[in-house]
C-alpha cells in the first residue's frame, strides 16, 4: 500500500513531481552512461589483445590442428604505421587456421585485412604490393584483427621457401592461440586500466549519489505532510525510497540506452595506440552490466534512506539532527596508511625473497586505492578548513554566507567539488607516473638513424643474399667474436648515430676493421641511404623484405614512432581520462550547485525580496564552489605528487615533477569545470523569484 502511494506521489503528483522525477532520472542516466563507458576500457584492450594473439603464435602455442604449419611474422612499417607481415606454409592437409580466415593461404596466395587491401590499392606496386608476392585471395575477418585499421597480410609459401629463412622467429605451430606472446605487457596495461577505472569510478558514483539527492529538500517537505496524516517513519522512508528508486530505474534504463549510442560514438571517434576500436570491443561484460543496472537504483535508494535517517521527518516539518561533529584530522589516517604503505614496502621488496616480493607487488593497488579513499576521507576536513579560513577573511556578505555554508556541512561541499578534485588528483598522479616511466631507455641501444636511411637488420645472412642492397653508399656491419664490425666509422656515422671505435674492439657499439668485405663474415645490418622520400624508402623496404623475409626494417620515422608510441598512447589515454573526468566533474558541480540552490530556495528568495541582489546570490553560490574546490584541488595536487612519489619508490621508478603543461591542463580543467557548472546559475534567478516568497 505504502509502495503504491509512493508510486502515485512520484508519477501523479502533478508537474512538479514529474519534473523532480525527470531531474533525478536525467542525472542518474548521465551517471550510468559515464559509469558504463569507464568500465569498457579493460574489455576494449582485452578484445584487441585476444583477437590479435594469433599474430604472435609460436612453438609453445597450444595445438588446435592435427598437422603443423611453418609460421613467421615480422613487424613492418608503411610511412610510420606498423604492419604485420606474416608468412605461412602448411606442413600437412589439416594445418591450424588463424581466426578471421576459413583456410590457410596456399603458396602464391595472400590474405589481407580490409585496411591493408585499401592501402595496397592506393599505393604503387614497387612501394608496397611487391612486398607481398602472390595474389590476394582472401580478406582477414574482424575476429583476426586488433582493430578496424590494423594492417595485416598473411603470405602463403611452400615449406621449402620458408625453410630457406634462417630465423629464430620461424616457428612450427599447431595452433594460433588467443593470448599475445607479450601477455605480461598487456597485463601491465590492464593493471593501469584497472587503476584508471577505479580513479574514474569514484567520481561517477559520487555523481550518481548527488543526482539522486537533487530533489531531497522538496521531498522532505512532502514527507512531513505524509507524517502529519499518520504515516510512520518507516512508511515515510518507503515512500521516499520508491520515489527515488523510480527515478533511478528510469534513469538507469535511459543511461543504458545512452550508453548504447555512446559506445558507437566512442568506437568511431576515440583512438588508442593510433587506432580506433571495434564497436564490439566497447562493451561491458554481461555480469558487470547486470551489476550496474541493478546496483545504481539500489545505490540511489540507499542514499535516500541514509540521507533520511539524518533528518527528523516529523508531522510539523523536517529538521536536521543537530550539528554533525566536524570532521577531524583523524581522517588523514587511511591516506597516511596508503602512502606510508608504499614507502615502507619499497625497501622490504629489495630484501625479501621473490615470492614475498610478488606478494608485496600485489599490495601496490591496495595501497593506491587506500590513498584514493584516504583522499576522499580528508576532503570534507579540507573543505571545513577552507570554510573557516574564508569566514575569517570575508568582509562581504557573499563571502561570509559561502564560508559558513562550507564550514557547516563540509561533507556536502566536498560531494559537490569532490569529482573535480579527484580528477586533479588522478591526472597529477598519472602524469607523474608517465613522466617517471619515460626515463627508461627508448632507442634499444641501436642509435638514431639519419634521415632517409633504411636500416635492414638481417640477423646474420651471407653477403650474397643481400648483395642487391649493397650499393656504393650502403654501410654493412658484420658480427665478430667481440661485437659488431664496420669498414669505416666515418661511413657508419653518415647513416647512424652509433658509438664506433676506430682503435680496437669496442666495449659498446661497433668497432672499425678494414678489409671486412673479403673476410667472409655474414652481414647483420645494412644501412641504405635514400633520397628521404617515403616512396624511395618503401622501394628499399620492399626489396629488402623480398630478399630477407624475416628482416626487421626501420627508418628514422619508424623508430621514433616505435619508441614513443606506447608513451604517447598513455599520454593520449591520460588526456582522454582527463576530458572524461572533466565532463563528470562539470556535471557533478552543476548538480551540486543545483541541489544547493534548490535546498535553499526559500531563504534565498526571501533574502532577494529583502534586497539582496541577484548578482550577490550568484557570488554566494559560486564562492561556495570555487573556494572549496581551489583549496582541495591545490592540496590534491600536492598529495597526488606525494602518492606518485611513493608509487615510484615502490616500483623502482625515477620520480620527476609533472611538467608545466600538466599544471596548465589541471588549471584550465578546473576553470572549465567551474565555467560549465556556472550554466546552472540562471536557475538561481528562476527559483528565487516571487513564487518562492509565497507560502501557499
Amino acid at each position: 500500500m505504502t509502495f503504491r502511494l509512493g508510486l502515485r506521489l512520484a508519477v501523479a503528483g502533478g508537474q512538479e513531481s514529474l519534473l523532480r522525477l525527470a531531474v533525478t532520472a536525467f542525472g542518474v542516466a548521465v551517471g550510468v552512461v559515464l559509469l558504463l563507458l569507464c568500465l569498457t576500457g579493460q574489455s576494449a584492450e582485452q578484445g584487441r589483445a585476444e583477437r590479435s594473439g594469433w599474430q604472435s603464435a609460436d612453438a609453445g602455442t597450444p595445438a588446435t590442428a592435427p598437422d603443423p604449419a611453418l609460421f613467421l611474422t615480422v613487424t613492418d612499417y608503411h610511412q610510420g604505421t606498423a604492419m604485420i607481415r606474416g608468412y605461412v606454409a602448411a606442413l600437412g592437409p589439416r594445418p591450424p587456421v588463424p581466426p578471421g580466415l576459413e583456410r590457410l593461404p596456399g603458396p602464391g596466395e595472400v590474405a589481407v585485412s580490409p585496411a591493408m587491401r585499401r592501402l595496397l590499392q592506393s599505393t604503387p606496386d614497387d612501394e608496397l604490393d611487391d612486398r607481398y608476392p602472390g595474389r590476394v585471395t582472401a580478406t582477414i575477418g574482424d575476429e583476426g584483427l586488433a582493430h578496424p585499421d590494423q594492417l595485416v597480410a598473411l603470405i602463403g609459401r611452400t615449406p621449402e621457401q620458408l625453410g630457406e629463412v634462417t630465423s629464430r622467429s620461424l616457428y612450427r605451430v599447431r595452433g594460433f592461440g588467443s593470448l599475445p606472446s607479450g601477455y605480461a605487457f598487456y597485463q601491465g596495461i590492464r593493471v593501469l586500466l584497472l587503476l584508471g577505472a577505479v580513479l574514474l569510478l569514484v567520481p561517477v558514483v559520487i555523481f550518481i549519489v548527488m543526482a539522486s539527492r537533487v530533489a531531497a529538500a522538496s521531498r522532505e517537505q512532502r514527507l512531513a505532510a505524509i507524517r502529519l496524516v499518520g504515516a510512520t517513519r518507516l512508511q515515510a522512508a518507503v515512500v521516499a525510497a520508491v520515489e527515488t528508486g523510480l527515478g533511478a530505474v528510469a534513469g538507469t534504463a535511459l543511461g543504458w540506452a545512452g550508453y548504447e549510442v555512446g559506445r558507437r560514438i566512442v568506437a568511431a571517434t576515440v583512438t588508442f595506440q593510433g587506432a580506433r576500436f571495434f564497436v564490439e570491443d566497447i562493451v561491458v561484460a554481461p555480469w558487470l552490466l547486470a551489476l550496474v543496472l541493478a546496483g545504481v537504483p539500489l545505490l540511489a535508494t540507499l542514499t535516500t534512506i541514509v540521507a533520511l535517517s539524518r533528518v527528523q521527518a516529523g508531522p510539523l516539518g523536517t529538521s536536521r539532527q543537530g550539528r554533525r561533529p566536524p570532521p577531524s584530522a583523524w581522517r588523514a589516517l587511511p591516506l597516511a596508511a596508503g602512502i606510508g604503505g608504499l614507502l615502507a614496502a619499497a625497501p622490504l621488496r629489495r630484501v625479501v625473497d621473490r615470492e614475498t616480493g610478488e606478494n608485496l607487488d600485489n599490495l601496490a593497488p591496495v595501497f593506491v586505492i587506500l590513498t584514493i579513499v584516504g583522499f576522499v576521507a580528508i576532503g570534507p576536513w579540507l573543505c571545513m578548513l577552507a570554510g573557516r579560513g574564508l569566514a575569517r577573511v570575508s568582509r562581504r556578505v557573499p563571502g561570509l554566507i559561502a564560508a559558513r555554508r562550507i564550514a557547516s556541512d563540509p561533507s556536502a561541499t566536498f560531494r559537490a567539488v569532490g569529482v573535480v578534485v579527484l580528477a586533479v588528483f588522478a591526472v597529477t598522479f598519472s602524469a607523474s607516473v608517465v613522466e617517471a616511466s619515460e626515463d627508461g631507455p627508448v632507442d634499444g641501444g641501436r642509435g638514431v638513424l639519419r634521415p632517409g636511411v633504411v636500416e635492414v637488420i638481417t640477423g646474420g645472412v651471407p653477403e650474397a643474399k643481400v648483395a642487391p642492397l649493397l650499393s656504393e653508399r650502403a654501410v654493412a656491419t658484420r658480427p665478430g667474436f667481440a661485437g659488431e664490425f664496420v669498414e669505416s666509422c666515418a661511413g657508419l656515422a653518415r647513416v647512424v648515430a652509433r658509438p664506433c671505435s676506430s682503435s680496437g674492439p669496442a666495449e659498446v657499439g661497433v668497432a672499425e676493421r678494414a678489409g671486412l668485405a673479403g673476410a667472409g663474415l655474414p652481414i647483420s645490418v645494412v644501412y641504405i641511404p635514400t633520397d628521404g622520400t617515403p616512396a624511395a624508402e618503401n622501394r628499399v623496404r620492399t626489396q629488402a623484405a623480398n630478399l630477407v623475409p624475416n628482416a626487421l626494417i626501420h627508418t628514422q620515422r619508424d623508430r621514433i614512432d616505435t619508441d614513443a608510441f606506447f608513451f604517447s598512447s598513455l599520454e593520449q589515454l591520460q588526456r582522454l581520462v582527463w576530458y572524461f573526468v572533466l565532463l563528470v566533474a562539470a556535471c557533478s558541480l552543476t548538480v551540486g550547485m543545483l541541489a544547493g540552490v534548490v535546498e535553499r530556495r526559500r531563504p534565498f528568495a526571501l533574502l532577494r525580496a529583502s534586497g539582496l541582489r541577484l548578482g550577490e546570490l550568484r557570488q554566494i553560490v559560486l564562492l561556495e564552489t570555487a573556494a572549496a574546490m581551489l583549496v582541495t584541488a591545490a592540496v590534491g595536487v600536492g598529495l597526488a605528487m606525494a602518492s606518485s612519489y611513493a608509487f615510484a619508490v615502490f616500483g623502482d621508478l625515477k620520480w620527476t615533477w609533472p611538467d608545466g603543461g600538466v599544471f596548465a591542463m589541471v588549471g584550465v580543467g578546473v576553470l572549465a569545470a567551474l565555467i560549465l557548472s556556472a550554466m546552472a546559475l540562471p536557475l538561481l534567478d528562476a527559483v528565487t523569484r516571487h513564487d518562492a516568497v509565497r507560502y501557499e
Binding site: 536536521r320 525580496a609 529583502s610 507560502y695
Partner: protein
C-alpha cells in the same frame, strides 16, 4: 504625521487570477497598520507591491513622495536593502549563519565592516531575549526564537518601514504575543512604520489601524485614516 507610503488603485494578476483589483492604502510615518483578510484575498500581494518586490499591473506606489513602482529593479532592490525591513512567516534566516550574523546581515549588505556590524547586532540579542543564543544556527532555535532573530534583522539597520508578512503565522499564541510586543515596542522606539499582513484579529489588535482586504480591494474603505 506625514504620509510615508501610499498605494493607489493597485491591480495585479497572476495569469487568470486577479489578486488585486484596485486596492489602495496609506501608511503614515511611525504608524503600525495591519492588513487583514481571508486567505487568497490579495493581502500578501498588496504588501509585495508596496515593498517593490512585485510591480503592480496598474496603479501607483509612492514612498516618501517618490513614485517607486516604475523604478528599475536595481533601484527597487536598493530601496529594499536600505530603507525597508522585512519579516516573513518562516524560512527567512540563512541556515548556515549563526543568529548574530543573521541579524547583522543588512548592515553587512550596506557595506559596514564585519566587526562593526556584529557589534551593532549584538545588543539586539539581549533586547529580544536571545542572550547566549548568538552563535546558534537557525536550525537550533525554536520557532519563536527564530522569529525574534528575524525581527532583529528587520530592525537592525533602522529602516523607515518594516513589512511583516504573517510574522506570527507559524508561532503559538504565547510566542506570537512576545514577537508582536517586541515588534511594536521597537518600532515605536525607532519611529519605524510597520505594515503587517495577518489573518488573526488578536495580532491585528497590536496595530494602530486595520485595513481589511477582500477580493483584491480594501473592503471596508478603511485604507486611509
Amino acid at each position: 504625521m506625514s504620509r510615508i507610503l501610499v498605494g493607489d488603485d493597485l491591480h495585479r494578476s497572476f495569469g487568470l487570477t486577479r489578486a488585486l483589483r484596485g486596492a489602495s492604502i496609506i501608511l503614515d510615518e511611525g504608524e503600525i497598520v495591519a492588513v487583514m483578510g481571508p486567505s487568497g484575498s490579495g493581502k500578501s500581494t498588496l504588501l509585495h507591491c508596496l515593498a517593490g518586490i512585485l510591480t503592480p499591473d496598474r496603479g501607483e506606489v509612492h514612498f516618501a513622495g517618490r513614485r517607486i513602482d516604475q523604478l528599475p529593479d536595481r533601484e527597487r532592490v536598493h530601496l529594499r536593502r536600505t530603507v525597508f525591513g522585512f519579516v516573513f512567516q518562516f524560512g527567512q534566516l540563512v541556515p548556515e549563519l549563526p543568529a548574530v550574523e543573521n541579524i547583522a546581515l543588512p548592515l553587512l549588505l550596506a557595506g559596514r565592516r564585519r566587526r562593526h556590524a556584529l557589534a551593532a547586532a549584538a545588543p539586539w540579542l539581549s533586547r529580544l531575549g536571545l542572550d547566549g543564543l548568538g552563535e546558534r544556527l537557525p536550525g537550533e532555535l525554536s520557532g519563536g526564537q527564530g522569529q525574534r532573530v528575524a525581527l532583529a534583522r528587520a530592525l537592525v539597520a533602522d529602516p523607515t518601514v518594516v513589512f511583516a508578512d504573517e510574522p506570527t503565522g507559524s508561532l503559538d499564541s504565547v510566542a506570537a504575543d512576545q514577537v508582536m510586543e517586541l515588534l511594536v515596542d521597537a518600532a515605536r522606539e525607532q519611529g519605524t512604520s510597520v505594515l503587517m499582513v495577518t489573518h488573526e484579529p488578536r495580532i491585528a489588535a497590536y496595530a494602530d489601524r486595520t485595513v481589511l482586504v477582500r477580493d483584491g480591494v480594501d473592503a471596508l474603505g478603511l485604507a486611509a485614516p
